[in-house]
């Protein structure tokens, strides 16, 4: 055996100690081999480890150390030279590697240390970045922007009327409308990208860092109320647009995409509709307010008008009475004055006063009538009257004037014209008189012809105007009166003016023609009220004139019913001048009254007998007495009973004296009572000469018809 170079252990091999050493070496070797394995494993696992080379070195060092220790295991026993060699090599290598590693570590450890600081640095950076990200997000939101620009009233500027955030520029900021960028947007119906630097996009003052995001603008048509036709879509010929601007956030990398642009256009349309709705609503609210205001104003005006009308009516009512009373006094006293003895010049003066006051009275009546006619408060007095008599009356009234002017008046009443008619006699006479009066007034020579006949259907059809088509029926007829004169005529152009109030034909009227110009206007109104029409024809100046009117009148029923027909007043044709020899019986218990009535009748030429009681009356009455006048106010004497008695005495009508009651009361009851007991007439106190005359003449003429006279 070769001896190994190893040192022989000094002491004798302690088996136990040896064993422990042996074991420890073994484990050390094991550890030494497994550590590099682990290292390799983990290094492989980690992606980033900049110091691989160092690990390899370290691995090698450990492996060799392990190998050394392993080989050491064999050196405890006698071992061969190979082992010794191996052992030596191992140890040499190990030494080499360790020294190198030690040298390398000097470099490596500072690096490793610096990695740690870098890690710290990175952490800080990460936190900072987080913060910044938060900031940027908020900024991104502020950077996202939407604004609406509306055109001002003048149309020359766009006013910022809405922004997403009302912070920076207050609403009211304006921009002139004729910028090229705006024109570009307005002329296209698409959403267009515009420069963020344009005034419409530059909502916020530019802060240094921020690069503004992309801006898109689109036009919003403003639909006006007038664009909405019924059943039509609003016409887009509107010239007014609003501008909607959308801005992306600054610093954002986002871009406007095509589909986003389309979305924007759709939104713009909706905005247009919403704006127009708002405009319409506003308009309608304003209109409603205006209407309410107008209503209030109208109401006020109506109330004022009503007050005015009422005031006028009150005034007229008062004036009516106030004016008429003195008028009548003047007329009455002047007529009395006429009866007295006067010198010729005095008589002339009094006659002038009479004429003027009559004219004035007529004028007052006309004006008051006209105002009542206009009010619509006028009502006709319908009653039965003698139609023929009306015409005769007119003739009589107009004859004196006509004969002075040497005009010939002819009256032609158709044979089928009824004698009695139902209507307003006074107003009809007024109309005829007015028309005939005008004819006379405006004729200097020649003649006037008055024709009256019943209008037949054919005539009615020709009657002008064509829309006036009266239809006669069983109980009424249409009277047509035509007055033709050969006077100065009227210019056809002036004819329409004739019937207007107060319009005077200056060319025709002489200074003295008088009248207020109301006459024809009133006539027209009366005729219209009577369901008729009036018109004038003339061929020109100097060619005369024809006035025609048609009125509707009723046909009276048979006259034998118990009705009091109204007597035409002042029908002087029928009044007998005196009643000479007429035997009259007067009953009155009052001596003075008896004497007064007797004197009256004596003045009229009657043969008067007076009694003071009913019994005396019954005793005294005989067939010779034509008229019996009874004062029925007498208390204690039932005059009605007396009347009944007389009726019984004289059963035949032609024998019975006419019974007339004299009463102070004006009520209907008395009249009805008189009628009931069979009185032929009623006179109301105070009894005047004229009243008595009229009653007696009527009675004697109409026989046993009942007649009554109202208080004159």
């Amino acid at each position: 055996m070769e001896s190994c170079n190893c040192v022989e252990p000094q002491w004798p091999a302690d088996e136990l100690l040896m064993k422990y050493q042996y074991l420890s070496d073994f484990f050390i070797a094991l550890a030494y081999f497994s550590i590099p394995l682990e290292l390799i494993y983990f290094v492989k696992k980690s992606a980033v480890f900049p110091y691989r080379w160092v690990l390899v070195q370290f691995g090698a060092f450990i492996v060799l150390c392990g190998a050394t220790h392993l080989i050491n295991l064999w050196t405890f026993a006698i071992h061969s030279r190979t082992v010794a060699y191996v052992m030596t090599i191992a140890k040499v290598l190990t030494a080499a590697v360790s020294c190198i590693t030690a040298l390398m570590l000097v470099h490596i450890i500072p690096d490793l240390l610096s990695v740690k600081t870098r890690e710290l640095f990175l952490k800080n950076k990460a936190a900072e970045l987080d913060r910044e990200m938060g900031l940027i997000r908020t900024q991104e939101e502020t950077g996202r922007h939407c604004a609406l620009w509306m055109p001002t009233r003048s149309g020359l500027e766009l006013q910022l009327s809405y922004t997403l955030r009302q912070q920076q520029n207050p609403v009211g900021y304006t921009v002139p409308i004729h910028l090229p960028v705006i024109n570009r947007v307005f002329s296209s119906n698409r959403a267009l990208k515009i420069s963020p630097n344009s005034p419409v996009a530059r909502i916020r003052p530019l802060a240094g860092k921020y690069i503004p995001g992309e801006v898109v603008a689109v036009r919003v048509p403003l639909l006006h109320l007038s664009n909405f036709q019924i059943n039509d879509w609003p016409e887009l010929s509107t010239k007014r647009y609003a501008l909607m601007v959308l801005m992306l956030p600054s610093d954002s990398a986002r871009q406007w995409h095509v589909h986003e642009l389309e979305l924007v256009e759709v939104v713009a349309d909706q905005v247009a509709v919403a704006l127009s709705h708002a405009a319409i609503l506003e308009e309608s609210m304003r209109a409603r307010d205006l209407l309410m205001e107008q209503n209030v104003a109208l109401d006020l005006a109506r109330r004022e008008a009503e007050t005015a009308i009422r005031a006028r009516n009150d005034f007229l009512a008062v004036m009516n009475h106030e004016m008429r009373t003195p008028m009548h006094a003047i007329i009455a006293l002047s007529s009395l004055l006429q009866e007295t003895e006067l010198t010729p010049e005095q008589r002339l003066m009094v006659e002038t006063i009479m004429k003027s006051s009559n004219l004035l009275a007529t004028l007052i009546n006309d004006v008051l009538d006209l105002s009542r006619l206009e009010d619509g408060s006028f009502q006709l007095n319908i009653a039965t009257f003698n139609l023929h008599a009306v015409f005769r009356e007119v003739l009589n009234l107009i004859k004196p004037v006509a004969s002075v002017k040497k005009l010939l008046i002819t009256l032609n009443l158709a044979p089928d014209l009824p004698e009695y008619a139902v209507g307003d006699e006074k107003r009809l006479m007024q109309v005829i008189l007015n028309v005939v009066g005008n004819a006379v007034k405006f004729s200097k020579e020649g003649g006037i012809s008055i024709t009256a006949f019943v209008a037949k259907a054919e005539y009615l059809r020709e009657a002008r105007p064509p829309e006036f088509i009266p239809v006669p029926s069983d109980n009424h007829f249409y009277l047509r009166v035509q007055v033709r004169d050969s006077g100065s005529g009227i210019n056809p152009q002036d004819i329409p003016k004739l019937f207007t109030k107060f319009a005077h034909n200056q060319s025709l009227a002489t200074r003295n023609s008088g009248g207020s110009g109301l006459g024809l206007a009133i006539c027209k109104r009366f005729v219209t009220l009577m369901d008729g029409h009036i018109w004038i024809e003339s061929e020109g100046i100097g060619k005369g004139c024809t006035a025609t009117f048609i009125v509707g009148l009723g046909i009276p029923e048979k006259l034998n019913e118990s009705k009091f027909p109204v007597l035409p007043r002042g029908s002087s044709n029928h009044v007998l001048a005196n009643f000479s020899g007429l035997k009259v019986l007067v009953m009155d218990d009052n001596g003075v009254g008896r004497a007064a009535t007797k004197g009256l009748l004596l003045h009229l030429g009657c043969d008067v007998t007076t009694v003071s009681s009913g019994d005396e009356l019954l005793h005294a009455v005989s067939q010779e007495h034509k008229v019996v006048l009874m004062d029925i106010c007498t208390p204690g004497i039932d005059s009605y009973e007396v009347a009944v008695q007389i009726h019984r005495l004289y059963s035949q009508h032609h024998e019975r004296p006419l019974l007339v009651a004299i009463t102070g009361s004006t009520d209907k009851v008395t009249k009805e009572n008189c009628m009931r007991v069979g009185m032929d007439g009623v006179i109301q106190k105070p009894v005047s000469l004229d009243k008595m005359r009229n009653v007696l003449s009527e009675l004697l003429e109409c026989g046993h018809q009942m007649s009554s006279l109202a208080r004159v």
């Binding site: 218990d589 003075v592 004497a595 007064a596 102070g664 005047s688 000469l689």
Partner: protein
Amino acid sequence: MDVAQLKRQLFEYTTLLFHEGFLDEQFTQLQQLQDENNPDFVVEVVSLFFDDSQRLLNELAKALDQQNIDFKKVDAHVHQLKGSSSSIGAQRVQRVCIAFRNYCQDKNVEGCLKCLQQVKQEYSLLKNKLETLFNLEKQILAAGGSAPM
């Protein structure tokens, strides 16, 4: 005084009477009834009125003096007086009579007595005035003028 002056005086006096309401148109009517056949008509009627009224006033005084006043009778008298006065146109007397009748209907003794006083007063006034009127007329006739009425 000459006729013209007298006539004017008469005219003024008559107008005054009308104006003061002593007379009304009924009196004028009576005047109109006077003619050659009846030359003193007015005077006759007025005298009749005076007699009648005097009688009635006496009756009224007697009736209202009673313990138990018979208002019906009083009313009847007043009615008569009213009728007469209205027949000749004595307006003021007539008016008092109307009031008198109302008091009678109400059976108001005091009112009736008051009215009686009034009527008497009015009546005497009227009587005086008419007598003056007639005197003037007589003067005119005496002076040779024609009957003015």
